[in-house]
């Protein structure tokens, strides 16, 4: 089920909130678990079992790792078994066809693809289970004795299919002792609607523009640039909108989920960009791959290897395609260049550093969106005028005029400008009330507008939940 669907907004969500509110505290987690399973089953009923088996393995191995904590060898063995069982499902469903295809291509031996459908959210819940068992092994948290509580942590529907990737240690106490309040619910519902608007009004509109570009016979250099910016904004609003909805829903049910985006297009460097973009994934790779490999506290050559390994894995995490691997390597190269060569110079450039970030991030999403390596080269060559396409075309002019205001608003909303303005106005306590009232009215209007978009049955894919 998608958050941005009428069945979620006006059927599932009100029913779950009522049920949850009326249920006594002792059974609230059970209600959340059943609701989350229903939420997952609505999208892909046949894969609920795989998720439940993964949770069961996580539960058993968590207890075994803790039980044999004194015997490090046994404890490590169970950690390895936990990692193997969790990752094997992910590798099988996500990468089997990729390996088969490339093996066939490399050896000339023809093997039939398995054509597997990727279970929704498997990359997210696998990483949560892994972090849970690793943290128990490291002694950072206790194994959860109550299987329902552990299952709620893994399956909690707001973050189940597209993150943020929540660490068990972050919400361990909230699983049993969380508070509910009108204030939290109000903040949560407003955050949810804001995220819904990002997704429905911005991401879907930019997605529509990207589709129109792909269908157009009237391409030009500037049209390629327009596509690249639109795609970058689509991904941003799609994913950050989803994260906002997840965090907002978490608030309504008394949870505080971690932030996943912090105005990434305002980053001062590529390194800074990755501190602001998909924060929960970046920190996961940092804590569970990069640092255990030695991180930055080792020889330069080893650090290169560590950085490239982490970024190839990050690319692969996004999808079993070569373009994602190239995308990961691209960032590894940029991060290494910054780290070893020009970070200190970039920091001195006040405006140029933002242009530098936007430029390279835009190119990165061209790589991200390309269906093949050849397309990456063609796309980038065209953007720099090395193909036969004209500089400008009527198609570009039309779509720029048609989507110009949305692009401008999208650009503004991807910066903290509105937040800063609000803070300045509300610094005067008299104005605060009016601003809050106005904000509530706008949020309510946005809900109606989003509903109108959904009723109209417009373009509504979710990009990140397949990762």
């Amino acid at each position: 089920m998608l958050f941005s669907s009428l069945s979620f907004l006006y059927y599932y969500f009100p029913c779950v909130v009522i049920l949850y509110t009326l249920t006594p505290k002792a059974f609230k987690n059970a209600v959340l678990l059943l609701s989350s399973l229903a939420f997952y089953a609505w999208g892909e009923p046949q894969y609920v079992l795989i998720m439940l088996v993964s949770i069961l393995f996580g539960y058993i191995f968590g207890i075994l790792i803790q039980h044999f904590n004194e015997k490090k060898r046994l404890s490590k063995l169970f950690l390895c078994l936990s990692a193997i069982t969790s990752l094997s499902a992910l590798v099988y469903f996500k990468y089997a066809d990729f390996f088969i295809e490339n093996f066939s291509r490399a050896t000339g031996i023809s093997l039939n693809a398995l054509n597997l459908v990727l279970p929704i959210g498997i990359s997210f819940y696998t990483f949560q289970i892994l972090s849970y068992t690793v943290d128990i092994y490291r002694g950072r948290c206790e194994a959860q004795k109550n299987p329902i509580n552990l299952a709620v942590y893994i399956t909690f529907f707001p973050q189940l299919i597209a993150g943020p990737i929540v660490r068990y240690s972050d919400i361990e106490s909230q699983l049993t002792q969380r508070t509910h309040s009108i204030e939290k619910s109000n903040t949560g519902i407003k955050r949810f609607i804001a995220g819904l608007s990002k997704k429905v009004i911005f991401a879907n509109t930019f997605g529509e523009l990207c589709n129109l570009f792909n269908l157009s016979d009237d391409k030009s250099i500037l049209f390629y640039w327009l596509f690249a910016f639109s795609y970058m904004l689509q991904i941003y609003f799609d994913f950050s909108g989803y994260s906002d909805m997840a965090i907002g829903l978490g608030n309504i049910f008394g949870f505080k989920l971690p932030e996943n985006f912090h105005y990434p297009f305002c980053a001062k460097s590529i390194t800074d960009f990755w501190r602001r973009w998909h924060i929960s994934l970046g920190t996961w790779f940092r804590d569970y791959v990069y640092i255990p490999m030695g991180g930055s506290r080792c020889k330069s050559s080893k650090m290169f290897i560590n950085i490239f390994t982490v970024w190839i894995l990050t690319g692969l995490w996004h999808g079993a395609e070569w373009n994602f691997i190239v995308w990961g390597i691209y960032f590894a190269v940029l991060l290494c260049l910054e780290k070893f060569l020009f970070k200190k110079y970039i920091e001195k450039l006040k405006v140029l550093r933002h242009i530098y970030v936007i430029f390279f991030v835009t190119l990165s999403f061209v790589i991200f969106s390309a269906p093949s390596i050849r397309e990456i080269f063609y796309h980038i060559k065209t953007m720099f005028g090395i193909t036969e396409l004209p500089f400008i075309s009527p198609g570009f002019i039309y779509y720029l005029k048609s989507f110009g205001i949305t692009l401008l608003l999208g650009g503004i909303c991807s910066t903290p400008l509105l937040k800063i303005i609000k803070r300045k106005i509300t610094s005067d306590s008299k104005e605060k009330i009016y601003v809050t009232v106005l904000e509530n009215i706008i949020i309510l209007m946005l809900l109606f507008i989003c509903t109108a978009y959904l009723v109209d049955g417009s373009f509504n894919p979710f990009l990140y939940f397949r990762f």
Partner: protein
């Protein structure tokens, strides 16, 4: 204190919106038909084990929710208003408003579809016409965006290229150009079709090319119902309705009209079906809308000439203007009858044959059989 109260009030309002809308969604009786969109709305899907496991139930339920949403038309209008007036998007789901006309964006020539249509025409030509004395013509009716997008930023088909491609693929027929005779006012503002009262010059040029005399006087009549065309429902903003006018005379009134459906059953009717004028699509006034085969016998004809007209819905309003030049006109719509089955119904000997199709159909000709 004030902030706390405000939070409580706002939380209650938001919760009430979700709850009340949810309750209305769940308990509102279903609507069967959308008059504005002229289509049947999705019904609640049947729950079966197979449909749940395959996910089909869930997909159908999403469509059901969107179709049966309370005050659906108001929400569609809200989206249209927001996208076109606030975000200033120049089209809404591929429809745009220009000079008071709603028109469709269509900028991509689909050579495969032109080939498909040409292949069907070639099949008909070789099977029924090649060895006869019949003269064969074809004409292409441009979409109204032909007139609305010129010198504006809207992307549109390159009609010259489109027609050149058609001529190249259909060399066995004589092409009749009518594009230069059309302006925006010759089409309804809310519909894709042309106005019968404005296309007499087109009928005249076609008749001249086919060496037929169609000089006749007509009385113009106006339907007293507002006409909201097919685009009016798809473009949910306030638009002024069109009026439908039709041209009639004694010749047309005395014609014997036989309609054949795609099962081969026939019934008698009139050129102008006033009953249909009061139904969902008043344009069906002209020769009763979608019909596989129609025979019009001119009972006052002074000639024995016959015309076979292969056509889409545009032909329904033009055909009556050609009646005075022929003893019999047979209208064939190969979207509703297979080309190989025409032998039993249509005489192709020694007659004029005209293929008259709109660009939108030729550019998306899958439906031609």
């Amino acid at each position: 204190m004030k902030t706390k109260l405000l939070n409580t009030v706002s939380c209650i309002i938001f919760a009430a919106v979700f709850l009340i809308t949810g309750i209305i969604c769940m308990f509102k009786p279903d609507t069967e038909f959308s008059e504005s969109e002229r289509r049947m709305l999705e019904k609640q899907p049947q729950v079966t084990f197979e449909s749940i496991v395959s996910g089909e139930y869930m997909n159908n339920f999403e469509s059901y929710c969107a179709d049966q949403f309370p005050k659906r038309d108001i929400f569609r209008s809200l989206k249209a208003f927001f996208t076109t007036k606030i975000l200033n998007q120049k089209d809404y789901n591929g429809l745009f408003m220009s000079e008071g006309h709603i028109s469709k964006l269509d900028s991509k020539i689909n050579p495969e579809m032109i080939n498909h249509a040409a292949g069907k025409f070639k099949y008909i030509y070789e099977k029924y016409l090649e060895d006869t004395q019949s003269k064969v013509y074809f004409t292409v009716i441009p979409d109204k965006n032909y007139t609305l997008t010129a010198e504006k930023d809207y992307p549109s088909l390159d009609y010259n290229v489109f027609i050149e491609k058609c001529i190249e693929k259909i060399p066995f027929m004589q092409y009749i150009n009518i594009c230069d005779l059309l302006s925006a006012d010759d089409y309804y503002k809310t519909d894709s079709h042309w106005r019968q009262e404005n296309i007499r010059d087109i009928a005249q040029r076609i008749a001249n090319t086919m060496e037929t005399d169609i000089s006749a006087d007509y009385t113009q009549k106006t339907l007293d119902i507002p006409f909201y065309g097919v685009y009016a429902g798809q473009y949910p903003m306030k638009v002024k309705p069109d009026t439908i006018k039709y041209l009639t005379n004694n010749t047309l009134k005395k014609c014997k009209v036989t309609y054949y459906d795609n099962m081969g059953y026939s019934y008698k009717g009139n050129i102008y079906d006033l009953k249909k004028a009061n139904e969902n699509d008043p344009y069906e006034l002209f020769l009763s809308g979608s019909q596989a085969l129609i025979e019009i016998e001119n009972m006052t004809a002074k000639t024995n000439k016959e015309l076979v007209l292969f056509r889409d819905s545009y032909g329904s309003s033009l055909a009556p203007l050609l009646v005075s030049g022929y003893k019999k006109i047979t209208l064939v719509d190969i979207r509703y009858i297979k080309s190989f089955a025409l032998e039993s119904y249509v005489n192709f000997d020694n007659c004029d044959v005209l293929f008259m199709y709109s660009t939108s159909l030729l550019n998306n000709s899958k439906s031609l059989n």
